[in-house]
């Protein structure tokens, strides 16, 4: 079963991330890279994507005349999606365990970030 692991943050959170030292950033990336490699080997890795920071994000509603209405949308405190992982696993517990490892990846001064990761299961493709 496929699960999506959602990583969100706020503008403040992202600004904080920008101030990490180079070596802290490297350590974080290395940990994540190692997790990807493991999951590829176990066949549990499906995908991961990063999203551009929300400066350019838009919310679109279809107007009656069909033209999209767009407006910038993220007030300072609002959470937005940074990116996600998709894993193909046998049990929900396995999905939570993987999320836990990502959450434990080191942050500034090598302290685990403990970032909260939202875990959601994919529905059965009603839209396809």
């Amino acid at each position: 079963m496929k699960y999506i692991l959602l990583m969100s943050s706020t503008k403040a959170g992202v600004s904080g991330y920008h101030t990490w030292s180079q070596s802290d950033r490297d350590a974080h990336m290395q940990t994540l890279g190692a997790i990807v490699k493991e999951l590829v080997e176990t066949g549990e890795f499906a995908a991961t994507q990063g999203l551009a920071e929300p400066k350019e994000a838009k919310v679109v509603r279809g107007e009656k005349n069909g033209l999209p209405v767009t407006d910038g949308i993220f007030p300072e405190s609002k959470e937005f999606l940074l990116g996600y992982w998709i894993v193909d696993v046998a049990t929900p517990e396995r999905a939570y365990a993987i999320a836990g490892r990502i959450s434990a990846a080191p942050g500034p001064r090598r302290v685990p970030t403990n970032m909260p990761i939202e875990v959601r299961q994919f529905a059965e493709h009603p839209a396809n």
């Binding site: 999506i4 692991l5 679109v60 509603r61 279809g62 685990p112 839209a127």
Partner: protein, 131 residues
């Protein structure tokens, strides 16, 4: 360039959706299928997924021993991702036009929902820094 189109909703929105009449639900699903079909026909479809409902959502953090601590309690105001499409297009404007179309998905009573669709650029694993 790849864009993600996301539909979000609060728990109350999901509960509301569950109250729709059978006809309204079928119309909405039919729209979504046709929408995906349109994207496939136009050569812009990359992927699309619907997500499970908020009741199944879990927030996971690392515990002190690295074990996952899961929690199923979210504030009422939290917006949950309901589903997304990823499209491969030539311009942001094309992505917004597709999102506007998606936003017209029929709601209760068959009226166009005018649901807000969040549009974000997907980061590529390629470099872009000119030659």
């Amino acid at each position: 360039m790849k864009y993600i189109l996301m539909m979000n909703g609060k728990k109350s929105d999901f509960d509301g959706y569950a109250q729709w009449s059978k006809e309204d639900l079928q119309a909405n699903v039919a729209f979504m299928r046709a929408f995906s079909r349109e994207l496939k026909d136009s050569g812009t479809f990359v992927t699309s997924e619907g997500l499970g409902w908020p009741i199944e959502a879990r927030l996971v953090r690392a515990g002190s021993q690295g074990e996952p601590i899961t929690d199923g309690v979210f504030p009422e105001s939290k917006e949950f991702l309901a589903g997304y499409w990823i499209v491969d297009v030539e311009s942001p404007e094309q992505a917004y036009a597709i999102a506007a179309r998606l936003s017209h998905a029929p709601g209760p009573g068959g009226e166009p929902g005018n649901m807000p669709v969040e549009v974000r650029r997907v980061l590529s694993s390629h470099s872009d820094l000119g030659l």
